[in-house]
Structures are given as C-alpha cells and as structure tokens.
C-alpha cells in the first residue's frame, strides 16, 4: 500500500518535475502546518499554553513507528492510532491538570513533555533509547503529506467556525462570562487540548515516516518552544495566519541557507518584536481573505469591524 502511494507520488512529481529536495521541504512544511494548526486552536483560540506538544508529537511518532515496524500494521491505521493515542493521553492529562490556573497548568504540560522524552530514553528495549528507533518505511511522500495537511486545515477550519470554535474563543475572551452563558469551560478546554494533541500526534506520525527513524531529542522542549514561537509569529487567533507562520518558519531557512545558524535568533527577535508591537501576530484575529485584499487595493473603505481591529 505504501508502495502504491509512493508510486503515484513519483509519477506525479515526475510529471511536474519536482525534485526530491523540494519534495522534502514540502513534506516538512506539511508536518509543521499540522502541528501548528493544533497549537493555533489551543493557544490562539483558547489561550491555553502547552509546552508539552512535542511530547504528543513523540507519542504519535513512536506509536506509529512501533506499530508499523514491529507489528506490520498498515501505515494509515498506524497513523490514526498514533494520533488517537496522543489525543487520548491529552484527554486524561487534561482531565487532571486543566483545573489548575494559568502557569500551574503550563508547567504540568512542560513536565509531561519532558517525562515522555526521559522515558523514551530510558526504556531502550521499547523505544531504542537515545540511539533512536530505526527502520521506519518512508510513507510520508509529498502527495500524501499535502493531502494530510489539506485535510487537517479543512477540519480545523470547520471546527473553529462552528459552535466549538466560538465557545473556545469565548473562553479566551472572558472565562467567567463564558461560564455565565452556559459554556462549560473545563470541558471545552479539554476538547481544545485533546484536539491539539491529536494534531501533534498526527504531525509526529508523518514526521516518523519522513525521517525514517526517530530519536527522543527530536521532541525535546526546544521543539515545543519552536511550535509556540511559530504560532505567535503567525498570529494568536487566526488559522490562515498560523499556516503562513509555519510557511515562513519552514521556508525562510531553506531560502536563506547562509542564515540557518541565525534561525532561532531571528525567531527570538521576531517573537519579542511581535509581542511588543503587534501583539496579535502578523495576522491578528483576522483570517486571510482575497476579497479584503482586493478591496484594500481598490482603496475601498474598511467595514466597521476591520477598522476597529
């Protein structure tokens, strides 16, 4: 089945003359987009912070890898199980920790992520330890990853633009008021946390198929920080902004190779400057829309909501 997918991909890429390097970049971009969409729902729309999403990525990656390599499970099923397991663990963890206030919740997420990494290092028989888990077949072809990313965006978009997203946003804006209009904040926060973990696990499973082997350091605290950084750059409260942020963060270092040493430094500055001067990120609460762009070029007056934001 993997072969069939890869053959289609090769035929497609051959037809369009897309070389393997570009394919790799696109796969990486798709992985980042999926992980960032999860963060965007959690941080941008619910204003909850998780320094543990790298841990959920690890769960998705290792679960899928182990199922495929040791138990010869079909990769699609393995990926779904990996994402679902990450979500399930987030649901349990969230049930316990989401009652904690702000920074206390945040530190438990961070602690969880670190625990996952330490345990993966420690149980060598299970995970291969710090040497990594090798032998994963290459199932994350470009075409497949793009399909995943598009599906992920579609689902996230519809999720956010329904009562679910509205309720999350109301918690972000004012939790006490949200409760006062009948929204069970705890339940919705847990839903948001689970959603972001499923996306992280999904991204992790794709990552495993792309790298073909995984090591715990792939999913260290720095990865979580990078995810948050990207979300902030893209804009807290905008899905399209988050995708744009993911593109920027993935593609810039590829385009400016000589700057790759300064990558994290630039991100750091970007975050500080954005938080100081454009705290809603590059895109703020607005979603990208062609209509608005055209209107802007034509110099049409803004509507009230845009003018105010």
């Amino acid at each position: 089945m993997i072969e069939a997918f890869n053959n289609i991909n090769n035929a497609f890429c051959g037809f369009l003359h897309i070389n393997p390097y570009i394919q790799g970049v696109v796969v990486l971009l798709c992985i980042n987009v999926i992980a960032i969409l999860g963060m965007a729902v959690l941080t941008g729309f619910t204003r909850l912070f998780s320094f543990g999403n790298a841990g959920f990525m690890a769960i998705g990656a290792y679960c899928a890898a182990i199922l495929i390599v040791r138990h010869s499970v079909n990769f699609l099923i393995a990926m779904v199980i990996g994402a679902a397991l990450a979500g399930f663990i987030a649901f349990l963890l969230g049930s316990l920790t989401l009652k904690l206030k702000g920074d206390y919740f945040l530190i438990t997420c961070l602690g969880f992520g670190e625990c996952v990494r330490v345990l993966l290092n420690y149980f060598k028989k299970f995970s291969g330890g710090s040497a990594g888990f090798p032998g994963i077949p290459n199932y994350s072809s470009m075409l497949f990853s793009v399909l995943c990313a598009v599906l992920a965006f579609f689902v996230a978009w519809r999720f956010i633009h329904s009562k679910y997203g509205r309720n999350l946003t109301s918690i972000r804006e004012n939790e006490v008021a949200a409760e006062a209009v009948g929204i069970n904040a705890f339940r919705y926060k847990r839903m948001s946390f689970t959603f972001s973990a499923v996306y992280a696990g999904w991204a992790g499973a794709l990552f495993a198929g792309y790298m073909m082997y995984v090591v715990p350091t792939n999913f260290a605290l720095n990865k979580s920080i990078e995810l948050i950084t990207t979300t902030v750059i893209g804009g807290l409260g905008s899905l399209t902004g988050s995708v744009l942020g993911a593109m920027l963060v993935t593609l810039l270092p590829e385009v400016f190779r000589s700057l790759s040493n300064y990558r994290m430094l630039i991100y750091g500055f970007a975050v500080v400057l954005i938080i100081m001067f454009r705290p809603n990120g590059l895109y703020g609460y607005k979603e990208f829309s062609l209509k608005r762009l055209i209107n802007r070029f034509k110099g049409k007056p803004k509507t009230g909501k845009e003018a105010a934001s």
């Binding site: 204003r47 912070f49 316990l96 920790t97 009652k99 904690l100 206030k101 702000g102 920074d103 206390y104 945040l106 530190i107 438990t108 961070l110 602690g111 969880f112 670190e114 625990c115 330490v118 345990l119 290092n121 420690y122 939790e175 006490v176 006062a180 605290l221 920080i225 948050i228 950084t229 902030v232 040493n261 300064y262 994290m264 430094l265 991100y267 750091g268 500055f269 970007a270 975050v271 500080v272 938080i275 100081m276 705290p279």
Partner: protein, 290 residues
C-alpha cells in the same frame, strides 16, 4: 553516603533557590513567569568567566562583575521589553511569550559568541573534600551552601524589614492601590528586576564553578521555575523550600535510583503535588471573581 547526598542536594537546591526567589518576586509583582530568568544566570556566568579567564582580573572581582552583569541584563529586559508590553495593556500571557523570546535570543547569542563549548574558570577552585562524620563533602559545595544561606537570609530581611520590602509587598498586594498611596511602582519593579538579576548572577557563577559554563546552562532556570511552582508561585519562602526539596530529591534519585530518571521523578512529583495542592505548598489561591 546519605549525609553526603543530602548536603549535595541542599547545595544544588540553594542554587535553585537563588533563581526561584527571583521568579517568585517577579511573579508576585507582575503575575507572569519570567522565562528569561535562567538566561540572566547564564549571561552573568559568562561575564564573570570572560573577566576571570580572558581579561585576567582577580576571581572575586570577576564574580562581582558577573553579578552586576546579570542584574543589568535583567534590568534592561524590564526597562525595554516588559514595561512596554505592560503599557499596551496586553494579557499577562504576552509577557511570558516575550520572556520566552528573550530567552531564545540570549541562548542563541551566547551560542554564537562563545560557541557551544564548555568553559571552566581558570581560577583554582577548592575542589578538595573534607571528612565530616564519615561523609566526604566538597569544599566548593560547602562554600556555595554558606554563601547561598547568607544571601537568602539577607533577602528575607530585605523583604520583611525594610521600606523597599514593604513597597514590594504593597505592589504585590494591589499595584493600583500602592500607586495611589505614593509607592513608585515602576521604580520598585525595576529594583526587583535588579535584585532578581543579581541573585541569578550569583546562581550562574556558583553553578558554573561546579558544572562549567555553557550556552544552555540557563535551563537551570527551568528547574528553578519548577521549584517556585512547587513552593507556590509568588511566595519567596515557598520558593526556597521548593528549591531545597527539588535539589534533595534530584540528588537522591540520581544516587539511589537512576540518574537518567532524575528529571522524570522531578516532573512527575511536580504534577502529583499540583493535583493535591493546586497552588503549590505556600501559594495563595487567587480566584477571578465576578
């Protein structure tokens, strides 16, 4: 053996406490976790090592310069970044994100300027051990322990018995009311950043003497953060108790169970503790009331 572990634990816990009290002070005033705090320690240590090893000034002077360096950077962060973010009326979370960005910047700058290399102080360190009741104790550990104790006692005195401390406590209680009553809030906050930065500088130098100086050493800030959460965010005595507990726990786990599981136990215990006591050991439960 046990006594030895205990003393080592307390001494590393003391270093955490120097940082954790800074976290707590800043949290009590501004309600946010200053993620860049560990980086202040790292930069302080680098300042000290540059002066001690490259410029060649006496170690004590270099150490003092290092402490000043930590204080200055902390002060600048407040002056340039945090105050600006506060003035926009943004939610506290944005302060934390800003701090996270600063932390990334400092770590990367250190990495670019000093490379990832581990550096040790050329100053001859008292690495010898002395025997007390059958336990071999490092002189360095004992010195660091003593120094930390003196500083922490001084800090508690400062907060509880001086005008400065009174101002700080007043702001922590209610910044608006304090301002109305004539407390110069911004100035007091800046002083707290200076104080917290210098404590971080001391912690960085002590840590660097023991484990070398390297760009990612600021990650001890994370441990200090954990310690201050265990103690209860915003509580200085809580931060000290939490730090000592964490230090002892870490050395005990490393000594008796497995050093690679050390962090697992710290974090797992943190989570369990918070489930039992959601605001840490000494924290006050603040409710957002209607």
């Amino acid at each position: 053996m046990f006594l030895q572990q205990l003393i080592t634990g307390i001494s590393i816990g003391g270093i955490y406490a120097l940082l954790a009290t800074g976290y707590s002070l800043i949290y009590s005033l501004l309600d946010f976790s200053n993620w860049a705090h560990g980086e202040f320690a790292m930069l302080g240590a680098y300042v000290a090592i540059v002066f001690a090893n490259m410029v060649g000034v006496p170690f004590l002077l270099a150490a003092i310069l290092g402490v000043c360096g930590g204080a200055l950077i902390s002060f600048l962060c407040e002056k340039v970044v945090y105050r600006h973010i506060r003035s926009t009326g943004a939610p506290n979370m944005f302060l934390m994100i800003g701090a996270m960005g600063l932390s990334t910047i400092f770590q990367q700058v250190a990495n670019l300027v000093f490379t990832g290399q581990y550096r040790s102080f050329k100053f001859k360190l008292p690495v010898s051990t002395i025997e007390i009741a059958g336990a071999y104790l490092g002189v360095l550990d004992l010195i660091s322990l003593l120094l930390t104790a003196v500083i922490l006692v001084f800090l508690i005195y400062l907060i509880n018995k001086t005008k400065f401390g009174l101002n700080v406590r007043a702001i922590a209680c209610n910044a608006k009311a304090a301002r109305v009553l004539g407390v110069r809030v911004d100035r007091s906050i800046a002083s707290v950043f200076l104080l917290a930065g210098s404590l971080a500088g001391v912690a960085g130098i002590l840590y660097g003497m023991k484990y070398n100086v390297f760009p990612t050493m600021g990650n001890i800030g994370l441990k200090a953060f954990v310690a201050s959460v265990v103690g209860g965010l915003g509580s200085v005595p809580g931060a000290i108790v939490g730090s000592l507990l964490l230090g002892i726990l870490e050395t005990m786990v490393s000594g008796y169970i497995s050093s690679s599981l050390r962090d697992f136990f710290s974090f797992a215990l943190l989570i369990v503790l918070l489930l039992v006591k959601p605001s840490g050991l000494f924290g006050v439960d603040v409710q957002d009331k209607a």
